[in-house]
């Protein structure tokens, strides 16, 4: 059964408080060189052979992401 991956991230103009908290932890770890963290969601779907990218996009647009604040990308590993 094919696997399809959908990654969802906040749009650049939307504040990401969780990403900021992660960046704070990175700094507290003493790791230098990281200037920004944006966090998102990663979905792995087992799909039928004929479940094409258009069908995935419909699902991603209606449920997996909120198009008001997020964008998504589809990968087939």
């Amino acid at each position: 059964m094919p696997v399809v991956v959908v990654d969802v991230v906040l749009k650049p103009e939307i504040l990401d408080p969780q990403g900021q908290a992660i960046l704070g932890a990175v700094n507290r770890l003493g790791i230098a060189g990281v200037t920004s963290v944006r966090q998102g969601k990663h979905f792995e779907l087992d799909v039928a052979d004929d479940f094409d990218d258009e069908a995935v996009a419909t699902l991603a647009d209606s449920l997996l992401s909120n198009p008001v604040i997020e964008t998504f990308t589809i990968h087939r590993p």
Binding site: I14, L15, P17, Q18, L63, L64, N66, V68, I69
Partner: protein, 227 residues
């Protein structure tokens, strides 16, 4: 005949009982509705209450949006049914695209729970007509993901069209863009609000009775609220 107002209970709703009680305080009849039942039982209006529907999984309100009852609520709202979403209910209305924008984690990353002052702006919607323009009211707010966001063009349009129901004053509790606490749709029948008017309908258990106006507005009693 008394106005019948449905209150939807989703798995994880918290404030459904208080919303039903607020309706009764305002002289209406509260009708419990169930997330899995698309039958709205002929109610005159619907409230989507606060809480953590479906555990806030995926995004706040994202799963509730597809509950069977919501198909009826969305269809009704498009036909003019008054719908008020409070807190998690506001999140559900945004996820349903009945209202523009979205609600994200508070900018300070802490849960906020306090009495909050609001300036009422749109007082012509179905849920706010009992208030005066620029009236300042105080009702509780309690949320972890109450930051109202939308792109600049949407925010400009909301301001231009007078669709901002209320703004936070004396401090923004959650990082909401332009201090927005609540918005309405173009027709004025759908209102989303992050603070909780249903927790401010009697002085014994809340900061006062400033919240009652949302329910009185719907039920048809005007000029009763004088905060």
């Amino acid at each position: 005949m008394a106005v019948r107002v449905g209150v939807v209970t989703f798995p994880g709703s918290l404030d459904d009982r208080d919303a039903l009680r607020a309706i009764e305080f305002a002289g209406g009849v509260g009708v419990p509705l169930w997330h899995a039942d698309p039958d709205l039982q002929g109610v005159d209006a619907v409230i989507l209450p606060g809480g953590f529907s479906y555990g806030d999984y995926l995004r706040c309100g994202a799963i509730a949006r597809y509950a069977p009852v919501m198909a009826s609520v969305v269809a009704g709202a498009k036909d003019g049914l008054p719908v008020l979403g409070i807190c998690n209910g506001f999140q559900v209305l945004c996820e349903s695209h009945l209202l523009p924008g979205a609600l994200i984690r508070n900018d300070h990353r802490r849960f906020v729970c306090r009495d909050q002052a609001l300036r009422m702006l749109n007082t012509t919607s179905r849920w706010t007509s009992a208030y005066r323009p620029d009236q300042v009211i105080t009702i509780p707010i309690k949320n972890g993901e109450g930051g109202y966001v939308a792109d600049a063009a949407t925010l400009d349009k909301l301001e231009r069209d007078g669709r901002i129901v209320a703004r936070y004053v004396h401090g923004n509790p959650n990082g909401s863009y332009r201090d927005i606490a609540g918005v309405t749709n173009k027709a004025g029948n759908v209102v989303g609000l992050m603070p909780h008017p249903e927790h401010a309908v009697e002085s014994l258990t809340g900061p006062g009775t400033d919240g009652l106006g949302f329910f009185l507005s719907l039920i048809g009693v005007r000029d009763e609220v004088d905060a």
